[in-house]
Symmetry: C2
Subunit: 253 residues, 2 copies
């Protein structure tokens, strides 16, 4: 029995000593780069199918700490700002779960029902280097428009995470660490359009962005284009962070 | 041994046959009436402390179905639109959990660590009649400004639920089933002010509400006041439901 088989056997037979039963974590990591929105997926060695990176909660670990650890263990990504967005608790959500050949049918805690807590994050995907863990053959970015068929309810988890990402644009700024330090309003608009998957009206967009009060306009303009040089902006870090903290302006206030 | 003791003993010793271990549900029910915002609390017979109504997930039951059942069993409230808002997974969240005298220390599944899934709802509190279940002495509405000290992290759960309720006003209309069938703009504004806990600017409020496009202005005005009679509005049910479904307009679209 190879090292993978040994490790897998131990994990399947004894994992429940370390982990809470029935509760899992799934992380939907969106990557933005060059006006593309991608999602990070793992291909399992044993089951041969794609999934979002997921794992389990240690018996004395907080849920948020589990999410960070799971993401790091499974993909190598660390220092990522993860946000809990929804729990998936349908009793049939893992329909089609295959038993692991190595230990035979339904002998493992892993074959029980799991309720999973979903987390999402948005990163600049050229800035991180995902690598598969020992359970996976591959760890790759997939275009959000071309996601393959995933295990269990993971396609629906990705869809709900995308809704949560899009909703977050109503309450919080986005772009820090995703755009170059200085950028034009059209560049910022393309980021929003890429995330939302729609075209936006240029003037309305500019008006709303300026009203958020997180941008600073620079004295110099962008040079080199054929047209009139557009203004350059950067994020005011303090105001940006305050807006992230505040989370929302309750629209009505 | 009385009937309460028998029931409790069975619940504590055998509940885990019916329920998933380590996972609970907590429901934060807000009640609006006459410009007051309240929250529904239960007083436990055995532990003598107040909590939000909570319970456990049956082994083959969906999380959402559990929340509905738990709320009905514990308070008598049914047909309530519950929304999941957050999972509370700190390993120390149940600090101070008391063992139940009837079975002695830590012999029950209920003494294990629980991760709890929070749900919230908003109802017109004069329209529902809560009643305590067999585990509780009392089931009462408390003003959100005067919530007593609750067990575990329940004060923090109520705070987070109130944030979720307030945030929902950014994305969804509110008021149906809370206001009379026809109402004035100031009446609607007072509902929002009560939920948000702040005063709002009259003109901005009116502008935003009309922009939501869920109101229908009636031909007649309200009569009987000393001042110029204000317009009467009602919700356009179709538009209101569409806005609830849509959930959000992604602000930027």
């Amino acid at each position: 029995m190879g090292s993978y088989e040994k490790k897998l056997r131990e994990f399947l037979l004894q994992g429940d000593r370390n982990f809470l039963p029935h509760i899992s974590i799934d992380c939907v990591i969106f990557g933005f780069h060059d006006n593309q929105l991608k999602v990070l997926l793992l291909k399992w060695k044993d089951q041969g199918s794609w999934s979002v990176p997921g794992g389990f909660v240690k018996r004395k670990e907080s849920l948020d700490a589990s999410a960070k650890r799971v993401l790091k263990e499974r993909t190598g990504l660390k220092d990522i700002f993860l946000r809990q967005f929804q729990v998936f608790g349908d009793p049939h959500r893992e329909r089609g779960k295959k038993s692991f050949k190595i230990i035979g049918t339904s002998k493992s805690w892993i074959m029980d029902r799991f309720i999973t807590v979903g987390y999402w994050a948005l990163v600049e995907f050229s800035k991180v280097t995902p690598r598969p863990d020992w359970l996976s053959d591959e760890c790759q970015w997939w275009d959000v428009q071309q996601i393959p068929s995933l295990i269990y309810d993971h396609n629906s988890i990705v869809t709900k995470a995308l809704e949560a990402l899009r909703l977050s644009l109503n309450d919080q700024p986005v772009g820090y660490n995703l755009l170059p330090q200085t950028f034009t309003m059209p560049e910022l608009q393309r980021l929003y359009e890429t995330i939302l998957g729609v075209s936006l009206d240029r003037r309305n967009f500019q008006k709303k962005m300026l009203a958020l009060d997180v941008l600073e306009r620079l004295p110099e303009r962008k040079t080199g284009g054929a047209h009139k040089a557009p203004f350059l902006y950067k994020f005011d870090k303090k105001k940006y962070e305050r807006a992230m903290q505040k989370g929302l302006s309750f629209g009505f206030q």
